[in-house]
């Protein structure tokens, strides 16, 4: 009998494994190696403690989980809340995100548990122990099958919003999945590990509605963010266009000047005015041939954004240099704007922390397979962080990040990569994107 108790305690604990893995998965990219190690150890300890807890409770109360629905229910809640607590404690600054993530997982897994319990009961001629075993087999199989769909769901609803600019999103949605899970959990009394058809249908409705609701809210948020970026892009393109118009006027004037020079040269040749010609040549040689004031990288979106920050830098007397080209049809204009916009915004406010030697340099390079972009700027050397996240110093009392997560997400989507480095007075960001 003790053997069976050990088996049930281990089996129930084993079923928590997919939930633990899934609860960590969206934060994998932002967790440091140390945090990963701590999480691994903490979760392993939790699982071992849970086996002991279930075993002890079965022995001391002389109950078994097969007949005691309340025991599994209590355990489910304790483990779930402990996982959220551990994750929130180790990967700090994401309490709402952890709650939301676990809420989604709990919804799906509780639905699976309800279904497997119901399916096992429906199998004819099974004794209670056999029903429990059949339910366990169905439950484990479904947990394994559902791993990837839940992972995809988390990729769509959690990962794109793991940066500080998405605070508003989390304020609105964090409680939905966990509260819905609680609603489902307490509405279905798994007294003796039994569930009827109506209760199962209720679980299906609650669970699917939650997933659908979260998905829709996430998609709406993404659309809104896209719209905002598009609007920004459009205003920058307009600005760039006005810059081009000025440049065209200058070119027209230069063409006019050239014609005048031809006329002067012609007169001098006719008058055999050699000293005059020599003087004119010298005059033309010393005329400064300055670099075009309108950037041209070969990519309209990049040009608009560089021009926008070039003007902002000029206003603040920040030296601004750019060089190189960007030729990649694979990277969308909007994503390029996210990368350059965030990097240049940070560079601009980084420069503003200095009183002198303010300089921003954008260097791009298009090779056969890789587009490299470096945004380099001077700053006062002070880096502010919160929970390992670099903070923007745009405004005082502003707790916003510097958009690293969104830049990282864009690079990752294209199979590219990024790197952030700084020393005592320089800050630089590198993007490597496949062409």
């Amino acid at each position: 009998m003790t053997g069976f108790k050990v088996f049930t305690a281990s089996e129930i604990t084993f079923c928590y494994l997919p939930a633990i893995l899934l609860s960590y998965a969206p934060f994998k990219a932002i967790a440091t190696k140390k945090q990963k190690r701590i999480l691994f150890a903490a979760h392993l300890t939790l699982l071992l403690c849970n086996i002991i807890f279930l075993l002890m409770i079965q022995i001391f109360l002389d109950k078994n989980v097969v007949s005691s629905g309340w025991l599994t229910k209590l355990d489910y809640h304790i483990v779930g809340l402990t996982v959220i607590f551990i994750n929130a404690l180790v990967i700090k600054g994401y309490v709402k995100e952890h709650l939301f993530t676990y809420g989604i997982i709990a919804n799906c897994h509780y639905l699976i548990l309800s279904f497997s319990t119901y399916a096992a009961v429906m199998i004819p001629e099974l004794r209670p122990g056999e029903i429990y075993l059949a339910g366990t087999v169905i439950d484990i199989s479904l947990l394994m099958l559902s791993y990837m769909p839940i992972r995809i769901m988390l990729q769509k609803t959690v990962e794109p919003f793991l940066h500080m600019d998405s605070e508003e999103y989390w304020r609105r949605v964090w409680f939905i999945p966990y509260m819905m899970f609680c609603a489902m959990f307490y509405s279905v009394p798994l007294k003796e590990n039994m569930i009827n058809g109506y209760q199962l249908v209720s679980c299906v409705f609650i669970s699917f509605t939650t997933i659908f609701l979260c998905y829709i809210v996430a998609e709406d948020r993404k659309t809104l963010m896209k719209k905002q970026t598009m609007e920004e892009m459009l205003s920058q393109s307009k600005l760039y266009y006005s810059g081009l118009q000025v440049k065209m006027e200058e070119t027209k004037r230069a063409r006019h000047d050239l014609k005048q020079i031809f006329v002067r040269v012609n007169h001098m040749v006719e008058a055999d005015d050699k000293p005059g010609l020599v003087k004119l040549c010298r005059e033309l040689e010393v005329r400064s041939l300055e670099k075009a004031e309108v950037p041209y990288t070969g990519n309209g979106a990049a040009d608009s954004i560089i021009y926008h920050y070039m003007l902002k830098a000029q206003e603040e007397k920040i030296e601004f240099k750019y060089q190189g080209t960007i030729r990649s049809e694979r990277v969308s204009d909007m994503d390029l704007c996210v990368l350059l916009g965030n990097a240049l915004e940070n560079a601009f406010y980084g420069c503003m922390t200095r009183k002198n030697k303010r300089k921003i340099t954008v260097i791009t390079q298009t090779e056969e397979q890789i587009v490299s972009i470096v945004v380099h700027n001077t700053f006062d050397g002070k880096i502010e962080t919160k929970d390992n996240i670099l903070l923007s110093r745009k405004r005082e009392n502003d707790a916003g990040g510097i958009g690293l997560a969104s830049m990282h997400e864009v690079c990752k989507r294209y199979g590219g990569t990024m790197e952030v480095k700084w020393d005592e007075d320089k800050f630089m960001v590198l993007f490597l994107l496949p062409v």
Binding site: E290, K321, Q323, I363, Q369, L430
Partner: protein, 244 residues
């Protein structure tokens, strides 16, 4: 100085061409260097198959019927180590010149000081090129590190896969690896060290080199290879932008 060095000057305006050649000659005389200098008036002639490979080329961007940037791209394709110096009446095309990794961009009128400073930079670069020593058929040999794509370990020997072909050596991989700069090479797998300059695609689980070779990256080395590649790229771009 190595007398096999070859320079070319390509400009459709004879006077401009002569001026550059004269200044080059003056520099060589001052420093007692022996360099062969050829002249071309079109990009087609310069980039033709039969034309020898040049170490340094002074190239006009606007020539009649010739686009200097395209010519430079063809020259780089023929020999990636050819160094290009563009000369033009304005710096409007300076941005595009970075696409072909130009050594410098000269704005006409040509100034002696500017040409001399470019030549100083070139010769400094040339003389500081690192060599790798290896043993082949009991004879000590050398190869420019910049010519190496990757080195493969064999049984009691190594194969240097260079730009111009494979070189079997009797030197052990660890002895060859000890001679190269750790920031320029990476070891993705037990049996190979790879030049970071030869990597064509962003590393994932495999390294794709410029000659198409694919070298697997062992799981434990993926983060290290990716970091080394990013550091290398950052350094090169900052160098190119004159920041470091």
């Amino acid at each position: 100085m190595d007398s096999s060095l070859k320079f070319a000057v390509c400009d459709d305006v004879l006077q401009e061409r002569k001026m550059i050649v004269d200044l080059l000659q003056e520099y060589m005389d001052i420093h007692d260097y022996s360099v062969k200098i050829d002249e071309y008036d079109t990009g087609e002639q310069l980039s033709a198959e039969a034309t020898p490979v040049y170490h340094l080329v002074f190239l006009d961007i606007f020539m009649e019927n010739t686009d200097g940037i395209q010519t430079a791209a063809r020259l780089k394709e023929k020999n990636p180590s050819t160094q290009i110096v563009f000369n033009s009446v304005s710096n409007e095309y300076a941005t595009q010149s970075y696409e072909v990794n130009a050594l410098n961009y000269l704005v006409k009128p040509i100034q002696k000081e500017k040409i001399f400073s470019i030549l100083d930079k070139y010769f400094h670069m040339y003389t500081s090129l690192k060599m790798l020593n290896y043993r082949q058929n009991r004879i000590d040999e050398k190869i420019y590190v910049s010519d190496i794509l990757w080195i493969e370990a064999g049984d009691h020997k190594s194969i240097i896969h260079a730009k111009h072909g494979d070189i079997p050596t009797s030197t052990l991989l660890k002895n060859l690896a000890g001679q190269v700069d750790e920031k320029e090479f990476v070891k993705p797998i037990r049996y190979a060290i790879v030049s970071l300059a030869a990597i064509k695609e962003i590393p994932s689980d495999v390294l794709v080199l410029t000659d198409g070779t694919r070298i697997p990256i062992s799981r434990s080395k993926r983060a290290e290879v990716s970091q080394a590649f990013k550091d290398y790229k950052m350094k090169k771009i900052l160098q190119k932008g004159g920041i470091i």
